[in-house]
């Protein structure tokens, strides 16, 4: 579904990703892990066109999307939620989701009808139902609890009916119990929508229990990939997480 081929990006001479090549199968559930600064969020930023890539290619369902604008990439079916929920503070949950649905239906600039249109409303209600947000439908986004904000952030992406959904640390800032509830919701919507889902996660228990495949990034390169079992036993991964991280210094000197 989504293929990254030799992605390179550096900021002012500092390499953020170097030669990342990854393939995400249609309908798969993948976790991306790696120490802080490994380039996980940068990878999402490159895929979604927030920053232009220096070299490489991003293929979505056989189409090269690496030079497209942020907006075109969204239109092609890549949705995204952010590490810190990115919301519209003065819109209620229902309004925000309906507005997103309207943008998806390309009716966001319609001036002669009222907001929201019936179709957008129905769509917003479905998303609220799926994420358990119906009970907060009338609350302004800025007044939501942290967990509900994260859910709404995912909901905004879902309203665009993405083929590929990127979640940047969906469980960030949550207590253990809340995390599991969140990850159950993520699993539920993945099954319900049958899309390709990629998430960044720090909690290894969650990663190894939930993900079908795991990709490990370190210093902007792919360190390992495979099933949770394979990754867990990979000596390089163990070293990256536990050891003093000898890996990467040689490449660092070369760059």
């Amino acid at each position: 579904m989504l293929k990254l081929e030799g992605l390179k990006k550096s900021f002012g001479g500092v390499a953020a990703t170097r030669d990342v090549t990854l393939d995400f199968a249609d309908g798969s559930l993948t976790a991306i892990i790696g120490p802080n600064g490994a380039g996980k969020t940068t990878l999402f930023n490159l895929i979604t066109g927030r920053f232009p890539i220096d070299s490489g290619r991003i293929m979505l369902a056989g189409e090269d999307i690496s030079r497209l604008s942020r907006r075109e990439i969204v239109r092609r079916g890549i949705g995204r939620a952010f590490q810190v929920a990115s919301l519209f503070p003065t819109l209620t949950v229902r309004e925000a989701l309906a507005a997103a649905a309207q943008a998806h239906q390309r009716r966001e600039t319609a001036m002669l009808v009222g907001f929201p249109t019936g179709a957008a409303m129905k769509h917003a209600d479905e998303v609220m139902e799926l994420l358990g947000l119906t009970r907060v439908a009338g609350i302004l986004s800025r007044n939501l609890s942290h967990g509900d904000q994260k859910l709404l952030d995912i909901g905004l992406a879902l309203a665009l009916e993405p083929k590929v959904l990127l979640l940047d640390e969906p469980t960030a800032g949550m207590g253990p119990e809340e995390r599991w509830r969140m990850i159950e919701t993520v699993q539920r919507l993945w099954r319900a929508r049958g899309m390709t889902l990629i998430f960044i996660e720090h909690d290894m228990d969650i990663v190894f229990k939930v993900a079908q495949t795991v990709r490990v990034l370190s210093y902007g390169s792919v360190l390992a990939e495979g099933t949770p079992e394979e990754v867990r036993r990979n000596p390089q991964v163990i070293e990256a997480y536990l050891g003093k991280s000898a890996h990467g210094s040689a490449e660092g000197a070369a760059a």
Binding site: E95, A103, E108, A110, L112, V113, G114, P116, G138, N143
Partner: protein
């Protein structure tokens, strides 16, 4: 759509009230007050489409007010156009002007946007001042604006002029209302709240901003046309920066988060002006102090404060619903922390 019918009913009621005023023999001073209020009200209302709804702080909106006034006045003085044709021409001219200025400005960050709009307004003002043979320079369009009859309407008659302006005014307000309650209006709010995120929803942010800028300019132009018809002339100070400043101040006085807020602000400012001039010639000093008190004291417009109270009450009710749902679900939902 019940909301649509309710808005139309409000528009009808508003028009009725405006039209009843001359019937009941209101003194000319009151009618003049309302006429000025309608012209400047359109300026403030259209500017709030930018400032309040889209977060685009323009300091050059009077440029479009003046471009409507001058284009209409010059077209009428040329004697080649009927009033409806000149009206349309003035709006088209303003739209093209706004398209050019907007295309340069909307991609910039908000500080650049504020002072580039201010700068372009200054350019426009200087053109009016400098091109004496065409615009009359600092004397303005002299000699009156001819008002030939069209479709049996005679705008040289004060009452008919008043009715014409009231209808044009209400139509513009209704258009603005329709706009802000449409998907487009909500898209503007998306951009105001979080431009970055709006782009990630697939919204073409610069295009939406530019569209909003042009529409807003056209409504301001109508305000300028009404003023030109009313005072039978056009003057450079229509497009001076202080007029833009006043429009922003009207929005502050009324409130930017309430649809009719700027209109209320227009009325308050005109009253404030009228009251101050009876006591002192230093109106600017008084206005400046009022602005400082409002900005540094209240930090927002009075109507905004009231609207916020109401919103808080609504939110408390909505949160009570959520808490009840959470308690009922007994742990299957998510606890509001």
């Amino acid at each position: 759509m019940t909301g649509r019918w309710r808005d139309l009913a409000w528009a009808g009621a508003g028009l009725l009230v405006l039209l009843l005023v001359p019937l009941f023999g209101a003194p000319p001073a009151i009618r003049d007050f309302i006429m000025f209020g309608m012209a400047y009200g359109l300026l403030a209302m259209s500017l709030n489409l930018l400032i309040g709804y889209s977060g685009l702080v323009s300091f050059g909106h009077a440029m479009f007010f003046a471009s409507g006034a001058y284009a209409f006045g010059l077209a009428m003085q040329s004697g080649k156009f009927s009033i409806p044709a000149a009206f349309a021409l003035a709006i088209v001219f303003t739209a093209v002007l706004a398209l050019i200025v907007g295309a340069i400005c909307v991609r910039l960050n908000e500080i650049y946007f504020a002072f580039l709009t201010l700068a372009f307004q200054m350019l426009f003002y200087n053109v009016i001042l400098g091109w004496v043979s065409f615009t009359g320079g600092d004397q303005g369009l002299m000699g009156g604006i001819p008002r030939p009859k069209f479709l049996g309407i005679d705008l040289a008659d004060r009452t008919q002029l008043y009715i014409f302006c009231s209808v044009a005014f209400i139509v513009c307000i209704a258009i603005l209302r329709q706009l802000v309650t449409s998907p487009f209006g909500y898209t503007l709010r998306l951009i105001r709240d979080n431009q970055e995120r709006a782009a990630f929803l697939g919204v073409n942010v610069p295009l939406v901003k530019l569209t909003c800028f042009v529409i807003s300019a056209c409504v301001a132009a109508v305000g300028g046309i009404l003023l030109t018809l009313f005072v039978s002339g056009a003057y450079p100070n229509f497009g001076f920066w202080t007029t833009s400043g006043e429009a922003i101040f009207m929005i502050l006085l009324g409130g930017s988060n309430v649809f009719l807020g700027p209109l209320v602000g227009t009325v308050i400012l005109r009253l404030l002006n009228d009251i101050t001039v009876t006591y002192t010639s230093h109106t600017e000093l008084v206005l400046g102090i009022v602005i400082l008190i409002l900005v540094l004291g209240l930090r927002k417009g009075p109507l905004d404060l009231i609207a916020e109270r109401l919103e808080n009450r609504r939110q408390a009710a909505a949160q009570a619903v959520r808490d009840a749902a959470d308690a009922g679900a007994n742990g299957t939902g998510k606890g509001g922390s």
